[in-house]
Amino acid sequence: MSISALVFWLIAGGTVGTAVFAVIARNILHAAFSLCGTFLGVAALYVFLHADFVAAVQVIVYVGGILVLIMFAIMFSSNMVEQTAERRRGWMALAAGGLTAFATLQIALLINRHLSTPLALQNVHGGQPYVPTASVAPGQTSIGHLLMGQYLLPFEFMSILLLAVLIGAVVIVRKEIR
């Protein structure tokens, strides 16, 4: 087994393991700390897929922003008796989770198979086997060109959405003053 395969399996196993612990941990604070490992593992998988810029954004926004928000909410509304309360509908949830994993995997493979030219699983590029090379990672310059060109309208919608969320969150949590 090559070094890159070994590293890939370590990272994939760590990602899956911390995700499983994040959903089965009884203490919600332990779950939040475990979620940090999941986010970092997904960022490492992005690096494996030559998406360096998205990996950096993942670490900054998820680990630096969302996880801190989650821990803030947990510690603000901390009630340790309730956090270790009984889980509800355990077996039904387990069955639904398993079914969802199976279904999403099958649907992804089905879509891939029925594309006009399937990705990577069969030969593309005129019969030649498709082998990704290191030179196909143009990086953040091309992403910037796409954001400012083809995806300018969604980009501007995102900025309006962030402004609305900023105002909405403040309105929701403010104290009523009469």
């Binding site: 087994m1 090559s2 890159s4 395969a5 399996w9 994939a12 990602t15 899956v16 995700a19 994040a22 919600i28 979620l35 999941t38 986010f39 997904v42 998988l45 992005y46 494996f48 897929l49 998406a51 810029f53 998205v54 954004v57 969302i66 928000l69 989650i70 803030f72 909410a73 947990i74 509304s77 309730e82 309360a85 009984e86 889980r87 509908r89 355990g90 949830a93 387990l94 639904a96 989770g97 969802t100 994993a101 999403t104 995997l105 493979l109 891939n112 030219t117 990705l119 990577a120 030179s135 143009p138 992403i143 796409l146 995806y151 995102m158 959405l161 962030l162 969320v165 969150a169 949590v173």
Partner: protein
């Protein structure tokens, strides 16, 4: 154990990323259904969004390539997903704090009155 292709970046590596994303998605659904704590449900939603983003990046990496490089549409969509996740987390945690101020609990089974 000798494998015929590089697992992380070979022509058949797409399936490995799809499997990891499917397991993350299943964990998210499990948390959505089984958690009583509102923050636990939010953790499940974050896992589901991460699984979708991972699928986007994987299909972007193994998709069609133009002369001067890969198609980066999947990476752009992943950036949008990350922005949406941040916005959703901010609003959801504001709601959690508002519910806690009103009910002194965030267990969603206990929050069952419309007007307290």
């Amino acid at each position: 154990m000798d494998l015929p292709y590089p697992i992380a970046d070979g022509p058949d590596a797409l399936i490995n990323y799809l499997v990891v994303a499917a397991i993350l998605f299943a964990c998210g659904v499990f948390a959505l259904i089984s958690r009583r704590n509102a923050v636990g449900i939010l953790i499940g939603v974050e896992l589901i969004l991460n699984a979708a983003a991972l699928n986007f990046i994987a299909f972007s990496r193994f998709g069609h390539h133009t002369q001067n490089g890969a198609h980066l549409d999947g990476q752009v969509f992943t950036l949008f997903i990350i922005v949406l996740a941040a916005a959703e987390a901010a609003v959801a945690l504001a709601l959690v704090l508002a519910v806690y101020q009103a009910h002194r609990t965030i267990a969603l089974d206990s929050v069952n009155v419309m007007k307290s």
